[in-house]
Each structure stands twice: as C-alpha cells, then as structure tokens.
C-alpha cells in the first residue's frame, strides 16, 4: 500500500470500509498470521475481494458478536493476528464483556475494527450509530483506541495495529468520498498526535472525521485574526498529553461522539490535572439519542461542520 497523492485520492473516494478491505488484502499478503473475521458483515466491511481472493484468511462466525470476539481471542492466544470487524455499536456494546475479559483482562492480541462509527451510518439511525463506543472501550484497561481522520491514515492505522502486540480498537468515521487530511508521506505513531496547523491563539484537538472540519474551521478563524493550532488526535488511548499547554487562551475539542466519555472527557480530565487556565469548548454529539438523517444533514444539525465549529468558537470569543 503505497502512500501517494494518487492513492490517497482513490482511497478517499472508496471510503473507509473499502480501504480497510484493501489494506487487509495487502496485510495478509505480507503476513500469513493475519485473519479477517466478521459477524456476517464481510461485504459491509469492504472485504468482498478478500472473501474470494484470500478466502482462507476470512472467517465468518455468523451473526454473533460475542462469539466473534471469543473466537478471535482464541486465534490470538495461539499467535495469529485476528482483525474482527462489525458496525461500531455491535462490536463495542453487544460484546463488551467479551472485550473486557479477552482483550482487557487477558490482553489478547485482537484488533477490533468498528465500522461506521459516530453518525456515519446516516439514515440507519440510533441502533447503528456509534455514539458511545469510545466511552465503553476507554474504560477497559489496556485497549489502544485509534481514530483515523481519513482513509490514508486508516491504512497506516491498520498496519500499525498489526505490528503492535496487544488489543486495539480502530474507530472508523466518515464515508465514501470523504475529504483528505493527508495527501502524501506523513508520520503515524500510536500515541503520538499529529500537529497539522500552527497557531498561537487557540488549540483545537480533533479526532476522526472532525480533523478535516477543524482544519477548515481554523481557516475561517484565521480570517478573523484568530490563529489556531490544530492537532489530529488519532490515538485516543493512550492520549498524547504533550500537545496540551497553558499558552493557549482557548482549548477546543471536536469529535463525532457523545459529549460523555469520548475526546472531550479524556482531554478535560487531563487539563484539570495540569491546571489549564484558559477557556474550554467541547464540540461533540449530545448526551442523547438522535434523530436519523443523511450524514451531511446530521453533521449540520449537530453543529459538526467547519462553519458551526468556527461559529461556536467566535461566539465564546478569545
């Protein structure tokens, strides 16, 4: 999987799920210990090609997420590297106890791939939204949580997860034809946030699909003479505290997740510990079940567009 401007464009057009499928094909070619597991959502996971071309490395356990995690844990226990994918709420909430016991307590080397998290399942609604998955996963000791901001970074996440020994939860947000944050070579290290824009007035920490919107919001703010430092917090656990500083007059978190238990909660608890003195704005989904709608409509309705982010910041003012 060569990282190039051309590929970044192609992957972005394909969207996160198809990119995941492509990354897995590549991974399995390089490492025969890697297996793709699914609870009957192989095609929805972008694995259609893999299911025929690498069918010996595809395992469908049926519509049974608890068993999916247990079986994946058994494979991991014997030295294989299972990637288990399903829609975010099913592979976090439905099987939470299996994750707690196998990935947490026994620290088994299972990679969970949470598809369509946040509100990217659009019109399918609350049953399929990943509104609280980070809250649940973050509470389980020892599970790394990755939240890629675009498809190119997703490819690096998949590779990094395979090379890392230990449980990983990969949270996908965004949809086909999602915007690109990264065009060419860029660094990716688990637990080390990427600074994408320099600015001394405010610090915007964004994750997943919201990184691109945060960058666009920073451009709007710049026109109003507010310079934002924008950080892509692609790893939610362990969190990179080194980006936090008292030099900023304002700190903003932006995420496609409930206001409870996600990036906002994680960062807020850190800034309390460091005694941050500036203003704080948490931009997130409400602590509520939502109505259903297209992705674009939902992002607008819940204030997760670049314009809405900039407006919130300007309303509070530095």
């Amino acid at each position: 999987m060569e990282l190039s401007k051309k590929n970044a464009k192609i992957w972005s057009r394909m969207g996160p799920r198809a990119t995941y499928g492509l990354a897995m094909l590549d991974l399995i070619e390089k490492n025969d210990k890697v297996y793709a597991l699914s609870a009957d959502l192989g095609a929805s996971s972008g694995l259609t090609r893999l299911m025929t071309e690498s069918k010996d490395h595809y395992i469908n356990v049926g519509i049974a997420e608890q068993n999916l995690i247990g079986v994946a844990a058994g494979l991991a226990k014997e030295g294989l590297i299972p990637f288990a994918s399903s829609f975010a709420p099913f592979i976090s909430h439905r099987c939470e106890d299996q994750v707690r016991m196998n990935l947490g307590y026994m620290h088994l080397n299972v990679k969970i791939v949470a598809l369509g998290s946040g509100i990217s399942m659009s019109i399918l609604g609350n049953s399929h939204y990943g509104l609280m998955d980070v809250a649940v996963m973050n509470a389980i000791p020892g599970v790394v949580i990755l939240s890629p901001s675009d498809c190119a970074q997703l490819v690096l996440c998949i590779e990094a997860a395979a090379n890392y020994t230990g449980p990983v939860y990969i949270r996908m947000t965004g949809e086909p034809s999602m915007p690109r944050v990264y065009e060419e070579e860029f660094p990716f290290e688990i637990g080390r946030a990427n600074q994408l824009r320099e600015g001394d007035d405010i610090l915007i920490i964004a994750t997943g699909s919201m990184v691109y919107s945060a960058l666009k919001a920073a451009d709007i703010l710049s026109e109003k003479n507010i310079e934002a430092n924008v950080v892509d917090m692609h790893t939610l656990k362990p969190i990179d505290k080194s980006v936090l500083s008292n030099k900023y007059k304002m700190l903003v978190t932006v995420e496609e997740h409930s206001i409870i238990g996600g990036l906002a909660s994680i960062i807020n608890s850190e800034i309390v510990k460091m005694g941050y003195k500036g203003k704080v704005i948490n931009i997130a989904l409400p602590d509520d079940f939502l109505i259903a709608g297209t992705y674009k409509y939902m992002l607008e309705k819940y204030g997760l567009t670049a314009d809405a982010i900039a407006e919130r910041i300007l309303d509070v003012g530095i």
Binding site: V61, Q66, G70, G74, L80, M101, M106
Partner: protein, 264 residues
Amino acid sequence: MNMSVEAKNVRKRILDMAYYSGVSTHLGGALSIVDILTVLYRDVLNYDFSNPTWEKRDRFILSKGHCVMSLFAIFVENGLISEDEIQSYMKDGSLFSSHPIMNLAHGIECSSGSLGQGISLALGIAKAAKLKKEDFKVYTLVGNGECNEGSVWEAFMLAGQWKLDNFTIIIDNNGLQSDGDSANIIDLSNLTTKLSGFGFEIIEVDGHNEDELRKAYNVDFNGKSKIIIANTIKGKGISFMENNNEWHHNRLIKEKYDCALSEL
C-alpha cells in the same frame, strides 16, 4: 461406584483449600467436576505437568471459572502448584483466587469467571490449531447453568458448523444453579435432545464413573466436534453436600470439615 485414589485425594485437597481459606467457596460445583478433570488430566490430555508451557500440549479451558478450586487441587496433586503456593488460596493478593487468573506457568490457560465465554475462546484455539496444522486437542468445561447464557449457544452453533475434530465440550450437568433447581429456572434436563440437531458427536455419561468418562473422551470424533454431557451430582462425595445447593457457595466450618473428611 468406587472413587479412584486420585479423585479422592483431589476432593480432600478441595476440602482443605475451602476450610483453610476461612471464607465461602464454590464447593458444590468444584466437587461435581472432580472426576471429569481427574480422568482428563490423568488419562486423556497430552500434557506434561513439568512443562505447562509446552506448545504441543493439549489445552483445557475452564469456562465455569467459579469451580477452579478443582483445577488447583489437581495441579497441587501433580506438583504444578506447590503446597506453599496454594496456602495463599483466597488470601489477599493471591494468584489463586475464587476465579481463575490466566497463569500458564501454573497451568491456568485463561482467566474466566464471567460465564458463557469459554467455549468461544476454546473454539478459537481449536480453529487456530487447524489453521496452523498443529495436532493438539482442545477441551472446555461448561456448566448446565452456564448454558443459560446466549453466548454459549452462539458457540454451539458455530462449533456444530465447523466440525473441528480436535474440539471437545464437556457439560457438567448437575441440574442445579445459583438460585436452585435448574428444572424450575431453565430446564435443560433434556440437553442431548436439545443439542442433537447441532452437528456434534454427543455422548451422555455418568460424570462420576471414570470408565464411562474415559470411554467418552476416547470416542471417535467422526469428523465432528464432540460434546460429552456428564451427568453429575453437585457436591459429589460428601453426603451432606450432595444435591444440596446450600453448598453452591458456602463457608466450611471446622465441624463440617471434619465430618466431610471422614467420608473420604
């Protein structure tokens, strides 16, 4: 039926552990699985007690983790856990606690205690053996009460589908569970009938008859996974504990301890 010396010694060891812990333990279930485990570890598993991390060993996954006292007792009897080490059983900070904590050096393959998860894990291990073309076999033990958990049936369905001929599920069918008689809660007295359509080789045995158990373990897989339904008596071997659910989780006081020991 005559209880073997080994099974008797394991039961004595369980009574010692329960009594000296000074706290409530899961005596009933631990006693009901003694013969199942005694035969498994003595006559069936390809297992070296002096080398518990040996890669080619057969694997045993205890799904009904609350009965781990029985497993500890077998490991002490075979030198895998020392007499000194087991003194810490149920003491603050001990590795040997009410529910198993994964510890391969002491023979404990996995952490468990949250019911309904061991079959899935064991099935994954058995699948891995096939994928890696390794010859070891995988055994897991679940309780009849544990079979109330939906995840157990998820695993039954997949194991029936996969038909791995290196995989054996043993069901400790003692007819009781935490709140009492299973027949009044979720009646699984006809487990063989219930499971007959799942695609397993099913053998139903007296779970305290070592000959029957040995034969069941040795029955050919016939190209399928195997389920051994072991009909047992909770509290087996101690008259006042047998089929008495007060001993599901209870403290063994001196008088009862002496009385129980005198029966073995």
